[in-house]
């Protein structure tokens, strides 16, 4: 990673690394990947050749990173994968809500017993 030095030469400016979180898409970025020996990737990204463990992750990746270059077919795949994921997330969030309620009542009762 290149290091920038400010003109006076002694006070360093840290490499300003906020680009990734502020940029909307990073189609050119290559995230280092490694596939375990006993696994075969289910899909590769047609744009950046990144391997994925499931078809759905690959479709979602297209929407995350390659919106400017995708085809109509790839867009359809992304949208259906997104909807599937939304349904799964809804179930997950129901579980999260019940966990929150459970944790809250557990603490409420414990405090009630301790304080009484």
């Amino acid at each position: 990673m290149p290091t920038e030095y400010v003109p006076d030469g002694s006070t360093e400016a840290d490499e300003h690394s906020r680009q990734s979180i502020t940029a909307n898409t990073r189609p050119t970025e290559r995230v280092p990947t490694a596939v375990p020996d006993d696994e075969t990737p289910a899909a590769w990204c047609p744009h950046c050749a990144r391997p994925f463990a499931t078809e759905r992750l690959c479709a979602l990746h297209l929407g995350d990173r390659h919106r400017d270059e995708w085809t109509a077919n790839q867009r359809d795949r992304y949208e259906s994968a997104y909807d599937d994921e939304s349904n799964e997330l809804f179930i997950f969030h129901l579980k999260v809500i019940s966990a929150l309620v459970g944790v809250f009542f557990a603490f409420t009762y414990t405090y009630a017993f301790v304080w009484s």
Binding site: M1, T3, V6, D8, G9, S10, T11, E12, A13, D14, H16, S17, R18, S20, I21, T22, N24, V31, P32, T33, A34, V35, P41, R50, P51, F52, A53, T54, R56, L57, L60, H61, G63, D64, R67, Y78, E79, A81, Y82, D83, E85, S86, E88, L89, F90, F92, H93, V96, I97, A99, L100, V101, V103, F104, F107, T108, T110, Y111, V114, W115
Partner: protein
């Protein structure tokens, strides 16, 4: 620019989510306030048993993760840490910088001169300046305001002046990696534990002079990279400075949302160093607990030197922390079903631990900083003919300690969430891959709160 897939207006469902979300925030803030509000850490027995406060701490971290799991829109997550503002650059004008550099060298001279001097009042002042002023107070300014150490560092100033006369421009060998800085950090903190470095001015002078010679020599030979990668103190401040809102950039000063720099990572062993920072902060608190005292006495009775026990504890604890973090990364990779390399995940999540380390530093040293402030106001009031106030701990002391720990952890949870959504694909993978990190944070909160809740005793010294 299209954002995430536009979600069809499912008004009712989202209304329910928002209402439930607000309720849970309210309930948890309520229970956290109830827990912290009823605990007085100073001396009186706590009305809430320790195990319950500790598990409430863990519960709050877990609950805050569950609540953040509702925020799944990447644009929203990005927008939280995106804002940044430039600060007028006149603050950084060269004369100001040179004046600060010169005065920091003078302060170093005063400290060394004061500690080797014969006057006990001056050497007591030098000790106070180093331990309460610099090690406690200045470090707080680094993570609360910004990393000013590259300018203030007197050794760096001296080294750059000498490097102007004799030019030895060597590049830092790569095989050194992160280990000199990690070893230096663990070694320095170990030295403060096993020797009376905090109370003996002579010893402090010896260590300061030795450190100065070593650091200036390194700075002259290797230049700025020495202070970036090898010098443990500079590297510690650089790590803490990542939490702070003010940041030096090549165009001047920038004000950002605290934590916005924490979602990235830097190569050259940054995760290992951050784990070392986290461990020394914990160990610093651990050695003043009664449990540690008993342990040292038991092992000491067998005939093992106490310094050795401290060294084993230092090395062993660091190894355990590093192993736990590496194992957590492997699990995150497996649970999230991602092919992103373990090193990348390790690198990107490491900085989320920094707010936690900073918050424990704050809780641990708040007392000594408040003591110095009370002392200074006492001296000032005496100068103006007023009475000398009796220093006492304010009533909000215990609450401020617990609150700082809570804030540090909540920031860490949010940083991990942002990092996961930046690094992983989709929403579900981003949430699932955070499980190991959140579990580690819960475990760490409970350990840390357990340490803070113990009445701090003088750690058993060797000499």
């Amino acid at each position: 620019m299209v954002t995430d897939r536009p979600v069809r207006p499912e008004g009712t469902r989202y209304l329910i989510c928002v209402v439930l979300w607000l309720c849970s925030v309210w309930l948890f803030v309520g229970s956290a306030v109830a827990a912290t509000g009823s605990v007085d850490l100073s001396s009186e027995p706590a009305p809430v048993p320790r195990w319950l406060v500790v598990s409430t701490g863990g519960g709050v971290i877990g609950a805050s993760f569950l609540i953040t799991s509702f925020v799944t829109d990447r644009e929203t997550i990005r927008s939280v840490t995106a804002p940044q503002w430039s600060v007028p650059a006149w603050l950084l004008s060269p004369p100001v910088g040179s004046a600060i550099r010169l005065s920091s060298v003078v302060v170093l001279g005063v400290v060394v001169g004061g500690t080797v001097g014969t006057s006990s009042a001056i050497s007591a002042f030098a000790l106070l300046l180093v331990w309460s002023g610099w090690w406690a107070g200045y470090t707080m300014s680094v993570y609360l305001v910004g990393n000013t150490w590259p300018t203030l560092n007197p050794w760096r100033t001296i080294a750059s002046v000498i490097a102007g006369w004799v030019s030895v421009d060597r590049s830092l060998p790569n095989w050194l990696d992160v280990w000199p800085s990690v070893g230096g950090l663990l070694g320095l903190v170990w030295l403060t534990m096993v020797t009376p470095l905090r109370t003996s001015p002579r010893l402090l002078a010896v260590v300061t002079v030795a450190y100065s010679l070593f650091t200036v020599a390194g700075g002259v030979v290797y230049g700025a990279p020495w202070f970036r990668h090898v010098d443990p103190i500079s590297r510690l401040f650089r790590a803490y400075g990542r939490v702070a809102p003010f940041r030096r950039t090549s165009s001047g000063l920038t004000l950002t949302v605290p934590g916005s720099e924490l979602t990235e990572g830097e190569a050259r062993g940054e995760p290992t160093f951050i784990i070392a920072v986290l461990w020394v902060t914990t160990y610093d608190g651990l050695v003043s607990t009664p449990l540690w005292r008993e342990l040292v006495e038991t092992i000491g009775a067998v005939g093992v030197p106490v310094a050795m026990v401290y060294a084993l504890g230092m090395g062993g604890g660091f190894g355990a922390f590093l192993l736990a973090y590496r194992t957590g990364t492997q699990h995150a990779r497996r649970i999230g079903r991602t092919y992103i390399t373990a090193q990348t995940i390790e690198l990107r999540f490491a900085r989320s631990l920094l707010p936690i380390a900073a918050s424990y530093h704050f809780a641990h040293y708040l007392g000594s900083v408040l003591g110095v402030v009370a002392l200074l106001t006492g001296i000032l009031s005496q100068l103006f003919g007023g009475p000398i106030p009796v220093p006492s701990r304010p009533s909000w002391f215990g609450h401020a300690q617990l609150l700082s720990i809570l804030c540090g952890h909540l920031l860490a949870v949010w940083v991990a969430h942002t990092t996961a959504f930046d690094l992983f694909t989709g929403r579900f993978q981003s949430i699932r891959s955070q499980y190991p990190f959140i579990l580690m944070m819960i475990a760490y909160t409970m350990i840390g709160m357990w340490i803070v809740l113990h009445p701090s005793a003088q750690p058993p010294f060797v000499l």
